[in-house]
C-alpha cells in the first residue's frame, strides 16, 4: 500500500532525480521568462514556483529535518546552473540559500529553529533577509533598530532600505540590536515568518540598471513573536561563521553563471562566423580565449574558496580567523570584477548583435546584471575592511599539499 502510494507520488518521483536534473528544468522555465522579468522589473514568479515544485528550496536543510543535506559545493553548482538562465532568479536562490546556511549552521541547537527548518523543507518556504537599514546603509555589522523582549515575546520595527523579494518571501531573517540599550554592533538575528504578526510597508521601489527581478524594495518591517525565534548565537558569530562565506560563495557562483552564459553566447557567435568563412580565424576568436582564461580564473577562485570553507567549517577558530575573512573577502572583489570583464569582452565579440536585445547573442542584460556585483556591498568597502585585516594577517602561500 505504502509502496504504491510512494510510486504514484509526484514529489517522491521528482526527489528520486538528482538536484542537478531538477534544476535543469527550473533553469529552462527561468530562461523562458527572463526577458519579461528583466524588462518589467518583476519578481520571477515562474522560477519561484518551479523551485518549489522541484523541491529545491530545502535541499541544504539537514536530512534529519526533512532536507537533503546538500553541502556548499552542491548548492553553489545549482546557483551556477540557474544563473546561466536568469541572473535575478539565481541571486534570489543564492540569497535564500545564504539564509538556509545560517539556519543549518546556527539553528540546530534551538527547538524553534529546528521546527522552522522542517517547515522550510516540508512547505518549501522562500527565505529573505533584512540587514540593511536607513541610517546604516549596507554595513551588515551595525544596527539602529533593536528587539524589545518582554514575557518571552519580542517586538521589532526595522526601516530596511532593501529587502530583496521581501514581498514574495515566506519569511525574513532580520538583524537588530540585542536590546534598546545595546551597542550598535551587539546584534541578534530573528526569523520573522510572513504571518499575521508581521507587517511590511513598502517605502521604496527597486527600479535599477540590472538584477531587476530581485525586487529589492525598501520596507518598514514591523513584527512581534515568540522570543525563541531569535537565534541563540549572537549575530557576530553567525556573520563570521556562516553568512560571510556563504554570501560571497553563492554570490560569486551567481556572477560566474552570468559570465559563463555571456561567454557561451560569444562562443556561439565566433563559431557561426567561423562556419561562414572556413579557413579564416574570426576576429573575435582571440578575445574569446582571453575571456575563457578569465572565466577559468573565476572558477578556480570559487572552487578554492569552497574548499577553504569546507576545511574551516568544523573549526570555529579557523572560521572566525582574520586570515579566513581576508580570503573570503578577496573572492567577492575578484569575482565581481572578473565577471564584469568577461561580459564586457563577450560584448566586444558579439558586437552590435550582442548590444541589441532579443538576439541569440544579446549580452546587454548580462552586462547590467553583473554590474550589480561591484556595488552589492561595495567593493571599496570590502577592500577597505580587508586592508585593515592585512595589517596583521599574512598571505597563505601553501597550495594545500
Amino acid at each position: 500500500m505504502n509502496v504504491v502510494g510512494k510510486i504514484s507520488d509526484p514529489l517522491a518521483s521528482s526527489l528520486a532525480e538528482s538536484a542537478t536534473e531538477r534544476m535543469a528544468r527550473v533553469a529552462a522555465i527561468a530562461a523562458a521568462s527572463v526577458d519579461a522579468v528583466d524588462r518589467e522589473g518583476r519578481f520571477p514568479l515562474e522560477t519561484a514556483e518551479a523551485l518549489r515544485h522541484e523541491r529545491l528550496l530545502g535541499v541544504a536543510i539537514p536530512v534529519e529535518l526533512g532536507g537533503e543535506g546538500l553541502g556548499t559545493a552542491a548548492v553553489a553548482d545549482l546557483v551556477v546552473q540557474l544563473a546561466q538562465a536568469c541572473g535575478s532568479s539565481a541571486m534570489i536562490y543564492a540569497m535564500h540559500q545564504i539564509q538556509v546556511a545560517s539556519l543549518a549552521t546556527h539553528g540546530v541547537t534551538s527547538e524553534w529553529h529546528r521546527t522552522f527548518m522542517r517547515r522550510v523543507a516540508g512547505e518549501q518556504l522562500l527565505l529573505a533577509s533584512a540587514t540593511s537599514e536607513v541610517g546604516i546603509g549596507g554595513n551588515l555589522r551595525n544596527s539602529i533598530c533593536a528587539v524589545e523582549v518582554a514575557d518571552n515575546r519580542f517586538s521589532l520595527t526595522k526601516d530596511a532600505t532593501v529587502i530583496s523579494y521581501g514581498a514574495n518571501a515566506d519569511a525574513i531573517l532580520a538583524t537588530a540590536r540585542r536590546a534598546p540599550d545595546a551597542a550598535h554592533s551587539d546584534q541578534i538575528m530573528v526569523v520573522i515568518p510572513a504571518d499575521g504578526n508581521r507587517s511590511l510597508e513598502r517605502r521604496s521601489v527597486w527600479d535599477t540598471l540590472g538584477m531587476r527581478g530581485t525586487c529589492s524594495d525598501g520596507f518598514l518591517l514591523t513584527a512581534t513573536g515568540d522570543a525563541a525565534q531569535i537565534f541563540p548565537k549572537p549575530f557576530s558569530e553567525i556573520a563570521a561563521q556562516s553568512m560571510l562565506a556563504s554570501s560571497h560563495i553563492y554570490w560569486a557562483a551567481t556572477w560566474f553563471g552570468i559570465a559563463a552564459d555571456a561567454f557561451t553566447r560569444a562562443q556561439a557567435f565566433v563559431k557561426a562566423a567561423a562556419r561562414k568563412q572556413p579557413n579564416v580565424t574570426p576576429p573575435g576568436a582571440l578575445r574569446l580565449s582571453e575571456a575563457a582564461a578569465k572565466l577559468q580564473e573565476m572558477k578556480g577562485h570559487l572552487v578554492a574558496a569552497i574548499n577553504r570553507f569546507d576545511t574551516a567549517r568544523d573549526d570555529d577558530d579557523d572560521l572566525s580567523s582574520i586570515g579566513f575573512a581576508a580570503e573570503i573577502n578577496a573572492l567577492k572583489v575578484a569575482s565581481s570584477e572578473k565577471a564584469a570583464e568577461v561580459v564586457r569582452i563577450a560584448m566586444l565579440i558579439t558586437g552590435i548583435l550582442g548590444y541589441k536585445n532579443g538576439t541569440p547573442f544579446s549580452v546587454g542584460r548580462h552586462l547590467r546584471d553583473v554590474t550589480s556585483a561591484a556595488v552589492m556591498i561595495s567593493n571599496d568597502r570590502i577592500l577597505s575592511n580587508t586592508s585593515t585585516l592585512l595589517l596583521v594577517s599574512r598571505f597563505d602561500t601553501s597550495l594545500g599539499a
Binding site: 555589522r141 551597542a183 557576530s236 577558530d317 580567523s321 582574520i322 585585516l389 595589517l391 596583521v392 599574512r394
Partner: protein, 81 residues
C-alpha cells in the same frame, strides 16, 4: 601583564570599550568589539610588547577577553625570551 594591557587599551579611540571597568574574563565581542576594532587592538598589543601574533593566534578566541589576550602575550613573550 593584565594591568599593562588594561592601561594600554584604556582610552584607545578606535576601541569603544571601557577597559578600566570591564572584568578580565568578560567577552569583549559582547561588549561591542568589532572584528575591525580587534585589529587595532592587536596592533596596539604587538607594538607594546614587541611581538608579532602568528597566523594561528589571529582568531576570535585569542582576543575575546583581557585574560585570553594576556595568556597569548605571555606565551609569545616567553617563547621569544
Amino acid at each position: 601583564m593584565i594591568d599593562r594591557i588594561r592601561a594600554l587599551l584604556t582610552g584607545n579611540p578606535m576601541i569603544p570599550i571601557d577597559f578600566e571597568t570591564i572584568s578580565d574574563n568578560a567577552n569583549l565581542y559582547d561588549a561591542g568589539l568589532t572584528s575591525f576594532a580587534s585589529v587595532q587592538l592587536m596592533l596596539a598589543i604587538e607594538e607594546e610588547f614587541d611581538i608579532e601574533f602568528p597566523e594561528e593566534k589571529l582568531t576570535r578566541r585569542t582576543f575575546s577577553s583581557i585574560a585570553n589576550i594576556a595568556a597569548a602575550v605571555s606565551e609569545l613573550t616567553a617563547e621569544s625570551v
